[in-house]
């Protein structure tokens, strides 16, 4: 049964991918890309990757689509027909694909418990992490503790990306934008939308907090919680307009949150050093190593959540505050 679901989902994915490459309307392509992500999230659940599915559903289906639509508003909505048939591209792609498929002959069969990937570090994570780190969710243990240094790097990449987007698009015209904007959001006239949004936003925020703090015990964590928090704010902006959203959450606070999250993460690492441990070795944080690990994971997950939330919202604000091109 599981195999059947797997095969059906993969076939759907292949069809969606072909449709994406075929359509010329960029709006359709973006919607199809969102559907692609949603199918992917379902596939990840069948492959036991619940944390990944969670992230893909929140990021790929929600935020990525919104950001692309934001860019689409500022550019063109239709792709032009290329001047010549891309036969060469097709040849390159087919050759690369054939070589890769030839390479899969050496891969172990799908789901094989004796595959090399399951022999090296994974058994230790599964058998020891509850004694060494504590949380029942192995993914959280590995993400926040065993490979905490990697995650710090990734949080920094997200922060840098946020800085780059703001540097490229800027909030230069923001004050002007607020002064000129007398007309309220178009969506504000839709009573149903407004009321549904009003009902949903607190629930989404509450759910984000649950995901943030329950990440040790179930699927979830700082990355997912940050994105879900951001999506609540994006929903607010979409229904009530950017001017209102900027009053609720001025960019200055978002800058502080984005930088503060990275600082909290790095600061936790240095605190461990000051207390006589290694960098990001949370056992030094308390007299009981497990309590120290718990505290460390809580702090760095909070840092990740803050940075991801602030960067996602900043990116969305940067795209939506940019003036539309004169047509």
């Amino acid at each position: 049964m599981e195999l059947l679901i797997d095969i059906v989902l993969l076939t759907f994915l292949a069809i969606t991918a072909l449709a994406i490459s075929h359509v010329r309307k960029l709006f359709c392509a973006i919607m199809l890309a969102s559907i692609f992500s949603l199918l992917c999230a379902c596939l990840f659940v069948t492959m036991d990757a619940v944390d990944v599915a969670f992230t893909e559903a929140a990021v790929g289906t929600g935020i990525a689509g919104i950001l692309m639509l934001g860019a689409l508003r500022l550019t063109e909505t239709r792709e032009k027909r290329p001047p010549h048939q891309p036969w060469l591209a097709l040849l390159v792609v087919c050759t690369t694909g054939a070589v890769l498929i030839y390479g899969t002959a050496d891969l172990p069969a799908y789901g094989d418990p004796a595959a090399p990937i399951h022999q090296h570090v994974a058994p230790r994570y599964i058998s020891q992490s509850q004694q060494e780190v504590g949380p029942p969710n192995f993914v959280t243990s590995v993400l926040a503790s065993y490979r905490g240094f990697d995650t710090l790097g990734e949080t920094l990449v997200i922060f840098t990306a946020g800085v780059s987007v703001v540097a490229l698009l800027g909030f230069r015209s923001l004050r002007q934008f607020l002064r000129n904007r007398r007309r309220p959001s178009v969506m504000a006239d839709h009573l149903v939308l407004r009321i549904v949004a009003k009902m949903f936003i607190p629930l989404i925020l509450l759910f984000a907090l649950y995901v943030q703090f329950h990440g040790d015990y179930g699927p979830g964590g700082g990355f997912q919680a940050g994105v879900i928090f951001a999506s609540a704010l994006i929903l607010y902006t979409l229904t009530y307009g950017l001017a209102k959203a900027l009053q609720v959450l001025p960019p200055r606070i978002l800058y502080l949150l984005a930088a503060g999250g990275v600082l909290l993460y790095g600061g936790t690492g240095w605190l461990c050093v000051l207390r006589g441990g290694h960098f990001l070795d949370y056992r030094a944080l308390a007299s009981d190593p497990l309590v120290g690990q718990h505290l460390g994971i809580l702090l760095i997950e909070a840092g990740v959540g803050m940075t991801v939330f602030a960067v996602m919202v900043l990116m969305f604000f940067a795209f939506s505050s940019r003036k539309e091109p004169q047509s």
Binding site: L43, M47, L100, G111, A122, F138, A161, L168, F319
Partner: protein, 117 residues
Amino acid sequence: MTLAGHYNYWVAIFLMMTGFYVVISRGNLIKKLIGLNLFTTSVFILYISLGKVTGGTAPIAAPGVTLYSNPLPHVLILTAIVVGVATTAVGLALVVRIHESYGTIEEDEIRLRDESL
């Protein structure tokens, strides 16, 4: 090598190649970024497929369960997804700026305007 044993890998490679094709054959910069996203997502599928153990369950400790799927690929991909969307946003911001200076996001038109300078 069996169909059921390698179907996941083959479809992941097919999706990867579709994304690759969109990146190299289309001139529209937003379409290229969508293709790039397609490519990265299929790499994620390949990684997660490698981490699956038949009969295993999600890597969250539960009483009475002994067989779990491999948590390591999950960690790598979870962070990669969020990093991926952040870098896509940088790409989109560049596209918006290109559109503001050139008035188009088609690659060949941009090249024409560059040559005519």
